[in-house]
């Protein structure tokens, strides 16, 4: 196959079996210190509750574990390897100093119930981060308790609900634009609200006159992503807020796209009442293959009484503490105080940037998206011409003429050494290619990406089958997802290995 780009070349990767297939009795990766209290007879102490055997749990040595996970790791793509332009996910650089400070003994190893007097450092971090995030968002107060973005949405909508309830009626409906993330309607539903789907305008923005016709005193509020999922700032944001506020409804902002705004504008200033932040997006805590995240919820003063308990408070003697006595609180949304380890990392990120760095970060993120837009406009169809902020959304309209869809182009991008962009989202763009470069890409990496996208567009013209059957250079080809869903195999059993070993295809079971 002809060389595709300057970015990648072939490299040997190691095969590796399942850990269970490497297990045999007597191998160990641990040694316990000698027991310094009298030994016990578990059978006597626990009676019929005692467990005799741990079944298929593996027995392996330490070097095998190291190799196992190191080999598996080489099968992953990662930000540390290259550009990861997943729209909506803000795959930016995850600084290593964040990992270092989060593991300092007094922070990494402190018990959530240890007395306040020996928790002042942790409380100070929570307070300082809270202050920074309130300043960045322009909001009055914040809770750090939610564990992720969707959990923040849940918390925010419950705050909204509690506010309405305190006025005598929780109201019935939440308005959500058709361009929203799936978590928005899913959240409104678990909070007991009926969802009003708001159709986007021809520019992909909120249709203000349509919105006006929908808002009445049965509407609790609206969930809005700003910039929207097509990467466009809602120019009528304050009219939207006014329309809602006039009827007593509130404006919730999904902060997924805050990377376009930090240091340039503040949601609290443009009419937002409550919003969540994704520390794992905007504030660089690592995505870790799907989590953990952290989804603090910031809001205006009017929602403060309803914040989850506990909140950090300053005591009369100047010491910090947790305040639990909050009679109007929506209650807890999580045990303990939230994903504290992510607070440490996010605060380290804010310190590393400062006000000038945070602003420059936003500007670079927006500059990068607009650079890609400029370079690829015309080669890929740009369905909405409105100015882009931190991400740009193309469609596969030109490529579908040759039978190639966004998902195929995404898979081909893998062969060029890039992680695919977000495919088929937002739903208002049929065949969407949603590209968010973030600030972390150099001009060189962006140019490689642009070259790759142009080259794929040419392949679509000349040899569409090559794109449709991509990727070609990965360890595994496209997976049979249909069989995976029809006959789910969700755990390993010894029979699976035995059957595979007897099969004529030796590559099914990799060597030990």
């Amino acid at each position: 196959m002809k060389p595709k780009s300057r970015k990648v070349s072939q490299h040997v990767t190691q095969n590796e079996a399942l850990i269970f297939e490497k297990s045999s009795p007597g191998k160990k990766a641990y040694r316990l210190p000698p027991l310094d209290v009298p030994d016990v007879d578990a059978g006597k102490l626990l009676g019929e509750q005692v467990r005799e055997d741990l079944g298929l749990m593996p027995e392996v040595s330490e070097i095998e574990i190291i190799r196992h996970f190191t080999r598996l790791s080489t099968w992953n793509y990662a930000i540390d390897l290259g550009m990861y332009p997943l729209g909506s996910c803000t795959m930016k650089y995850n600084a290593r100093v964040n990992e270092f400070v989060a593991r300092l003994e007094g922070l990494g190893n402190s018990h959530p119930y240890q007395p306040e007097k020996i928790s002042q450092g942790a409380l100070r971090i929570m307070k300082t981060l809270s202050e920074c995030l309130c300043e960045i968002t322009g909001m009055d107060v914040i809770t750090l308790q939610p564990a992720a973005g969707a959990h923040g949405e849940f918390t925010g909508i419950l705050l909204m609900r509690a506010h309405h309830e305190s006025k005598g009626n929780p109201r019935k409906k939440i308005i959500i634009p058709d361009s929203a993330h799936g978590t928005n309607p899913a959240t409104a539903a678990i909070c007991g609200y009926e969802i009003i789907n708001l159709k986007s305008s021809a520019e992909g923005m909120v249709d203000v006159s349509l919105l006006a016709s929908l808002v009445d005193d049965t509407v609790a509020g609206m969930m809005l992503t700003n910039p929207s999922t097509i990467g466009v700032f809602e120019k009528d944001i304050h009219r939207i807020a006014d329309l809602l506020h006039d009827k007593g409804a509130l404006l919730y902002m999904d902060g997924a796209n805050m990377n376009a705004l930090v240091g340039k504008t503040r949601p609290g200033d443009f009419g937002v009442d409550v919003m969540h932040l994704n520390l794992h997006k905007t504030f660089s805590t690592p995505h870790g293959g799907g989590g953990p995240g952290s989804g603090p919820v910031a809001c205006k003063k009017l929602l403060e009484p309803f914040l989850p308990a506990p909140v950090v408070t300053t005591r009369a003697d100047g010491r910090l503490g947790f305040e639990y006595n909050r009679p109007q609180s929506i209650g807890r949304v999580r045990a303990f105080y939230g994903n504290f380890g992510m607070f440490v990392r996010a605060l380290a990120y804010i310190f590393a940037n400062g006000p000038d760095g945070l602003r420059q970060t936003t500007e670079d993120a927006v500059l990068n998206a607009n650079y890609i837009r400029k370079k690829l406009d015309g080669i890929y169809d740009l369905p909405y011409k409105t100015g882009s902020m931190h991400e740009v959304v193309f469609s596969d309209r030109l490529q579908t003429q040759n039978g190639v869809k966004t998902g195929d182009i995404a898979k081909r991008l893998i062969d060029y050494g890039f992680h695919p962009y977000t495919t088929s989202f937002p739903l208002i763009v049929p065949g969407a290619l949603m590209i968010e470069p973030t600030e972390s890409e150099s001009k060189e990496e962006l140019d490689l990406f642009v070259d790759a996208m142009k080259s794929i567009a040419r392949e679509v013209e000349e040899d569409p089958q090559l794109v449709i059957s991509a990727p070609h250079d990965t360890r595994v080809a496209r997976m049979d997802e249909t069989t995976a869903a029809r006959k789910p195999v969700l755990r390993w059993k010894p029979e699976q290995t035995n059957e595979a070993r007897q099969s004529p295809k030796p590559e099914l079971v990799e060597t030990r």
Binding site: T482, A485, R486
Partner: protein, 129 residues
Amino acid sequence: MPFPANYRYTREHEWIKVDGGQATIGITDYAQNSLGDIVFVELPKVGDELSAGKTFGSVESVKAVSDLYAPASGKVVAVNDELNGAPEKINSDAHGAWMVRIQLKDAGEVNKLLSSDDYDKFVKEEGGH
């Protein structure tokens, strides 16, 4: 695949085949084709009441879910359990793979549905977008 002339059709792509006071319901070949490989069907239980135009279940491909809309009202008298273990039957023979059999409440409802010619015209227009 042609749409059988003795079936009636909805704009949501279900078919209904009347057989005396009862009728069987499924999805059209056009629907299975646009969904792709079907991996799961969720169907009502015998004894459940279907009401015309309302959802009575769903059909799933790997990355999409489509609600099933009842072409006519009536009580479910049989469910095609075979589809639980072999949802691919819908892909291979959509017009044969019935999902539920109902006792029709009002046979008149069926007459309001699309004929095979009208449905054929409808999907050609829809596909043309």
